[in-house]
């Protein structure tokens, strides 16, 4: 399935939840915020949120800033 992640198209194999995808990247849940199809996805829903063909995902983290 084609998913647009942080602005770039990616090809992922279903079935896959947001939590599972983050785990493949080695990203701890506590360090990110996620928008799934332009809506903020609460952390407690990462495990249930299934990715589907055509979805968009934004994965955001804190960086140094003034």
């Amino acid at each position: 399935m084609k998913i647009k992640i942080n602005g770039e198209p990616r090809d992922l194999s279903p079935p896959l939840t947001v939590a599972e995808y983050l785990a493949t990247l080695g990203l701890e849940v506590e360090r990110v915020a996620v928008e799934h199809n332009h809506r903020i996805l609460p952390r407690e829903n990462f495990a249930e949120a299934q990715l589907a063909d055509g979805d968009t995902l934004e994965i955001i983290q804190f960086v140094g800033g003034g």
């Binding site: 990247l25 360090r31 003034g66």
Partner: protein, 256 residues
């Protein structure tokens, strides 16, 4: 030094520190520790999916420092509100340093979009600390909208030019009903002292610490500047005069 209170929360330090541009996480932590700050700003950006790296958050003791996410990168109110909501979703307390800077050259804040975003975020329960140009009228509008502070700039971000907006900031301070935090452009401890002597409630510094040869020592130097300025302000500065006024008695000279 007397405590700083923002939105009912008490802080011992009147120096806020930004975490950008440091050469390493160790340098960032050294600056934070040297400065004695209790509030640190952070930004939100996309994770590099191909190279997620480690998280700078792992280096910040959340029991010691309040994370103040900024909305840097936002070009309008909508983008700023989105970033603030994401920061909250990322587990931050609902505090936000609101900045809307559509102009990439001087990074000057957009007053119209900042006010619009502030109104939305206050309604959503955020503690809003807006970064603004040193505009007393805008500062009033923001306070009326319910912001927790106003944060006028001393000079454009990262310029180290000091308190170029001094006269305007003095008016903001005179009229303020919330803490005034001078943000941006302060490049030396003396600049921080000057802002505090003027009656600012706090200052925020980033670049000056990040580019210092010794960020930890520069943090400590700014801490002293802030404390000296605050103490001088509270002690009551003498009036400036045009002509000399002798400190020594004008009688009893050894002459006929």
């Amino acid at each position: 030094m007397d405590d700083l209170i923002i939105a009912g929360r008490r802080f011992h330090s009147r120096l806020l520190v930004g975490t950008g541009k440091f050469s390493s996480n160790a340098a960032m932590v050294a600056a934070m520790e040297g400065s004695g700050c209790e509030i640190v700003t952070v930004a939100l950006r996309r994770v590099d999916i191909d190279n997620p790296g480690d998280s700078m958050l792992a280096h910040i003791d959340r029991a010691k420092y309040l994370l103040l996410p900024n909305t840097s990168g936002a070009r309008d109110a909508e983008e700023a509100v989105r970033l603030a909501r994401l920061a909250r979703a990322a587990g931050c307390e609902p505090w936000v340093k609101l900045e809307v800077t559509p102009d990439p050259y001087y990074l000057l804040p957009d007053p119209v979009e900042t006010l619009k975003a502030a109104q939305i975020l206050v309604k959503e329960g955020f503690v809003v600390l807006p970064y603004i140009n040193a505009d007393p009228v805008l500062a009033k509008h923001l306070q009326e909208a319910g912001t927790a502070t106003v944060m006028p700039l001393g000079a454009p971000i990262g310029t180290n030019r000091g308190l170029r907006t001094r006269d305007q900031i003095a008016i903001i301070i005179e009229q303020a009903v919330v803490p005034v935090v001078v943000d941006a452009g302060l490049g030396a401890p003396s600049h921080a002292a000057e802002a505090m002597e003027l009656g600012a409630d706090a200052v925020l510094v980033n670049t000056a610490l990040a580019v210092a040869r010794d960020p930890g020592a520069m943090g400590a130097a700014f801490k002293k500047g802030v404390e000296a300025g605050r103490q001088g302000f509270l002690a009551g500065l003498g009036e400036q005069r045009e002509k000399a006024e002798a400190s020594s008695p004008l009688t009893g000279f050894l002459r006929d």
